[in-house]
């Protein structure tokens, strides 16, 4: 069961498209799935955060991920940190989260919501540096 869960996590695709990027923020259109609107919205926001952390946002200045190591390895290494972070800590770095398509069923009959999520990247990077999740610039 654990192995299956790990495999699903490892190959999960984030439904995220870059909209705009500045020196301070990156805005992504994200699809979030869930039985209720709140859960789906959280899923969309976390997709934006995880994309920024582990994948990088293509066609923006943030194409390289903030964390260069493998996601599962890092999440296991800093389990306590990521539990807290995903459970609400990440919200400190979301500047805005605007509904682009309201909660409802898509063509595949999946319940989802589409949000335009704007994330403060330098602040998020500094936070990760201060928590020793990533190294500061330099050696």
């Amino acid at each position: 069961m654990m192995l299956l869960q790990s495999l699903l996590l490892a190959y999960a695709q984030y439904n995220v498209t870059a909209i705009n990027a500045t020196n301070e923020t990156v805005t992504m259109r994200c699809v979030g799935y869930g039985k209720k609107a709140v859960a789906a919205a959280k899923d969309a926001e976390l997709s934006a955060i995880r994309t920024l952390l582990f994948e990088g946002v293509t066609n923006t200045r943030y194409t390289m991920p903030l964390i260069s190591e493998d996601r599962l390895t890092v999440e296991a290494k800093f389990r306590k940190f990521f539990d807290d972070f995903y459970n609400g800590g990440y919200k400190d770095f979301i500047e805005s989260s605007v509904v682009a398509v309201p909660f409802g069923k898509n063509d595949l009959k999946q319940k989802c919501i589409v949000l335009d999520v704007c994330v403060r990247v330098p602040q998020l990077r500094r936070y990760l540096e201060n928590k020793d999740i990533i190294r500061k610039f330099g050696l």
Binding site: N23, R61, Y62, T63, M64, S68, P122, E129, R135, K136, F137, G138, L139
Partner: protein, 287 residues
């Protein structure tokens, strides 16, 4: 009793905190690109746009909490101390790079494109490791076309677009250095009066000096990572030798300590040497 225990615990924590040595950071200097024979001081003084671009690149480093060596200040201080005149400035750029104490320099090239459909600026950023000449990060940025004559603003725009990625690539290289060691080069040579050569047998095993040097290098290069550029009877050059950032005790390790280790080895073989270090190159001369 309870108070003594608390004091004891605090002092232990303090000791642990002091035992952690901060890593010595590389010195990075941002310089303008100059063509062959171009006077680097004049290039900067005559062009405010180049100064703006240079400052913008430095700002990007500052935003990551990293302070760079100030090129303009180095230029002025060197001009004062060395008494440089315009005649002697043909290779001033190399001299500043060599004497600044910087480990990495970032060259910024600016290309201005003027057209009736708008002006734009292209910026080329290239970071080089001074000791090995290896390029660490490269990026080309474009401002996009705008109906403006403010070239400095266009230059800033072009830098902003690529600065993050440029620094991210550098950081990947830094992480590699942390994991696999930093590069130095080591040159072995002989004093003109020396009776030794690379084919002289040294030690009890009947090995030549060249063999002894390679064996020592394979044992002392970090993770056995080194590259020999070439060997002749009078010279042996290791153009890339990895050394760790920290020694086994967690203290900073550097090229000087690496040289010291070699000095001990040379003495154990009854050899006399002199050591010189310049820009991450260790030059060992056998007497």
């Amino acid at each position: 009793m309870k108070r003594s225990f608390v004091i004891f615990v605090i002092s232990i924590i303090n000791c642990v905190a002091w035992a952690q040595t901060a890593t010595v950071q590389p010195k990075i200097m941002v310089i303008p690109y100059t063509k062959q024979g171009e006077d680097i001081a004049q290039v900067l003084e005559n062009d405010v746009n180049k100064r703006i671009v240079l400052t913008k690149v430095k700002e990007a480093f500052d935003s990551r909490g990293f302070t760079t060596v100030d090129f303009a200040a180095k230029l002025k201080s060197l001009s004062r101390t060395e008494g440089l005149t315009t005649d002697s400035q043909s290779d001033l750029k190399s001299m500043i790079i060599q004497q600044s104490g910087a480990d990495i320099y970032v060259e910024t090239e600016m290309d201005i494109l003027l057209s009736s459909s708008g002006n734009s600026v292209k910026i080329i950023l290239t970071a080089y490791d001074i000791s090995t000449g290896v390029s660490i990060s490269n990026k080309v940025g474009e401002s996009g076309k705008f109906y403006t004559d403010d070239i400095g603003k266009l230059g800033s725009k072009a830098v902003e677009k690529i600065a993050d990625e440029f620094l991210d690539i550098m950081q990947v290289k830094f992480t590699d250095i942390v994991n696999n060691g930093r590069s130095i080069s080591v040159e072995f040579g002989f004093d003109s009066a020396s009776a030794l050569s690379m084919s002289t047998e040294i030690g009890n095993e009947g090995l030549t000096l060249a063999d002894q040097l390679e064996l020592w290098m394979s044992e002392h290069a970090y993770k056995n990572n080194y590259h020999i550029q070439g060997t002749t009877d009078k010279k042996m050059i290791f153009d890339d030798v990895k050394i760790p950032l920290k020694d086994d005790n967690g203290n900073n390790y550097n090229i000087n300590k690496f040289g010291l280790e070699f000095l001990r080895f040379a003495r154990s073989l009854g050899l006399q040497i002199t050591r010189n270090i310049a820009n991450n190159t260790l030059v060992i001369t056998f007497k």
